[in-house]
């Protein structure tokens, strides 16, 4: 029988080998973004903003124009690019340390201004790149290198829920939290991404998709245990679903 291609990597990503640890979900999320950019015909006009953290090298992975941003500043960089090139498809790719801690002002205000950009927010409840420190999203009791006895509310407060917070910002258009722990949820996550880029294409404003992600290395778990932990521990605190869809309100 003649060999047939039944699956190949998306052209939305470069051929560069990913730098992520085995078992982490960044790879799946990258693939989904690449596929959606190709399927919606946006790759040739896209500008991706890499942030600081595990995904710092993502400017090498997305097969489109890219710009690397200072820690937390990706939404401001995206604002600059989009304002001078309104026809470009501009997205940021940010982790939870970047977006929910140092970059809190930039994410809130780009949503507040209703910037017509798409934010990919990858929440794994820890600082991965720097070696597993506590993030604003770290769960109560979760052990990290800077919460060695487990996060305590009295000292560090309760974990920050970004999608819920941004849903209170009048300027935001589309906010959804998804997970990629199994094929069913991966398909659902892709639909959310499609919608988010669709919002931008239709010039409807600010969209953000929050991905529940894993960090087997810094969580000290196998990849499968990590996925289970995300389902059992993270999703109850960070429920999946749609937090805002102002495109419906417009209709």
């Amino acid at each position: 029988m003649k060999a047939q291609t039944i699956y190949k990597p998306t052209e939305g990503l470069t051929e560069r080998q990913l730098t992520y640890c085995p078992g982490c979900t960044h790879g799946i999320i990258h693939k989904l973004i690449g596929e959606v950019l190709v399927e919606q015909g946006l790759l040739d006009t896209a500008v991706g903003i890499a942030s600081v953290g595990c995904s710092v090298m993502s400017y090498e992975f997305f097969n489109c124009d890219t710009q690397q941003a200072a820690h937390g500043r990706a939404p401001a960089v995206a604002t600059g690019i989009k304002r001078v090139n309104p026809e470009a498809t501009v997205f940021t790719y940010q982790g939870d340390g970047d977006l929910a801690s140092i970059g809190l002002a930039e994410i809130v205000h780009s949503a507040h201004r209703g910037e017509n950009i798409t934010v990919i927010f990858v929440n794994n409840a820890i600082y991965g790149m720097t070696g597993g420190q506590m993030a604003p999203t770290t769960l109560i009791g979760q052990k990290t290198t800077t919460s060695p006895r487990g996060r305590e509310q009295a000292e560090a407060g309760l974990p920050l829920r970004m999608s819920e917070m941004l849903a209170t910002v009048p300027g935001a258009t589309y906010l959804e939290r998804v997970s990629v722990h199994d094929p069913k949820h991966i398909r659902k996550a892709k639909k959310a991404l499609q919608k988010a880029f669709d919002v931008q294409t239709k010039k409807q404003g600010f969209s953000m998709i929050e991905f529940i992600s894993t960090c087997p290395v810094n969580w000290g778990m196998t990849p499968q245990d990590s996925l289970n932990w995300a389902v059992d521990q993270m999703i109850p605190y960070y429920p999946l679903g749609l937090f805002k869809d102002a495109t419906k309100e417009e209709n």
Binding site: L43, D65, Q67, Q68, A70, R73, G80
Partner: protein
């Protein structure tokens, strides 16, 4: 266009529009507020972009994004705001992006005051952020010189793919003077920005990346050396200065910005008394105009640095002088502009006379 009477900050804003500025991103801070205020109204008339950012930090990162996408971009701020922008300025230098930054300097450190100062000399000339880099910086004296430089700054920034700063003390931002905004200024031949990450990879046939990260040590050193070569070219080509009555001077005052204006009247007064004094006025603060010092006559046995800070530029004078001439320093801080009388008295003391 004939000369028009304009306030410094508004004139700089209009000069930026005339210089081809595509986009402005800024944040309110005194004493530069008339720059964003003016642009918030007038940029729209030219179909250009104005955004009031949530902070100086966000503003400079918007500048970084828009510059990376190939636009001619401006931000303006004042001393503590410039301190906040230094991270983004370092990124732009590292990523080789052009931008123009107006710094209307006020007193410091910390919140300091809102009065005129030159206390930013170090953060203007030493890079200011992390890493080996320089920002080409101007310290103009009159409003006409300021607007001429603002208009040229966009070309210079594009040519070097490096941030350019116009550093004026608050007095220049706040005062009114007649200015011509349509006079002839030098234009540079500039290559197309084929490096810009503007979302046209399809049209271009290849993708572009704007980045300052070089994880490989050899790679980063190579990048650092390439930047150094560019800064060496600036040192060679861009030193600007003015020398006033230095040919026969026994003592030469080194001063820039508003202080240089005061020194001009000091020279008149002292020359009438028979004291041969001249002025060496740096126009570029970085590169520091070393070439001007080589042109000083043998008769000039002493240099007196006068600045509205406590000896920041004096450090550069000391370095350039290399022990050749006697050095003296006179500075005022706190937002105080030195008066002609006090500078004249300082000179009289130095030449052995008594105060008038």
């Amino acid at each position: 266009m004939a000369k028009v009477l304009m306030k410094g900050n508004e004139a700089m804003a209009l000069a930026a529009i005339k210089g081809g500025c595509d986009a402005f991103f800024g944040y309110p801070i005194t004493p530069q507020n008339e720059v964003p205020e003016y642009l918030s109204y007038h940029m729209k008339e030219y179909g250009r972009v104005f955004v009031q950012a949530e902070s100086e930090v966000a503003a400079i990162n918007m500048v970084y994004g828009a510059a990376g996408a190939g636009a001619r971009v401006l931000t303006s701020s004042s001393s503590p705001g410039i301190a906040l922008k230094q991270e983004g300025i370092s990124y732009m230098a590292g990523s080789q992006l052009p931008a123009v930054i107006i710094n209307v300097m006020r007193g410091g450190p910390g919140l300091g005051s809102i009065q005129p100062s030159q206390g930013d000399y170090n953060q203007v000339t030493r890079g200011g952020g992390n890493g080996d880099y320089h920002v080409l910086s101007f310290g103009p004296e009159t409003l006409q010189e300021t607007v001429d430089l603002v208009r040229q700054a966009f070309d210079i920034a594009d040519y070097y793919r490096n941030p350019v700063m116009i550093a004026v003390d608050g007095l220049i931002g706040q005062m009114m003077e007649p200015v011509d905004l349509d006079n002839e200024i030098p234009k540079m031949d500039l290559p197309p920005k084929d490096w810009a990450a503007n979302g046209k990879s399809g049209e271009r046939g290849k993708r572009n990346t704007i980045v300052s990260l070089h994880l490989d040590t050899q790679g980063l050193e190579g990048h650092n050396l390439a930047l150094k070569k560019k800064y060496d070219e600036m040192v060679e080509k861009e030193q600007r200065y003015e020398m006033i009555q230095t040919d026969d001077a026994d003592i030469v005052i080194v001063a820039y910005g508003t202080v240089a204006r005061v020194v001009r009247s000091v020279i008149e007064t002292l020359r009438e008394e028979g004291i041969k004094v001249g002025l060496l006025r740096p126009i570029t603060l970085w590169p520091f105009p070393e070439k001007a010092f080589e042109k000083l006559p043998e008769s000039a046995k002493m240099l007196l640095t006068v600045e509205m800070s406590l000896g920041q530029m004096h450090q550069d004078v000391r370095m350039v002088n290399e022990g050749k001439r006697k050095l003296a320093f006179y500075g005022r801080a706190g937002g105080i502009v030195p008066e002609a009388d006090e500078i004249a008295d300082e000179v009289r003391k130095l030449v052995g006379g008594s105060p008038a």
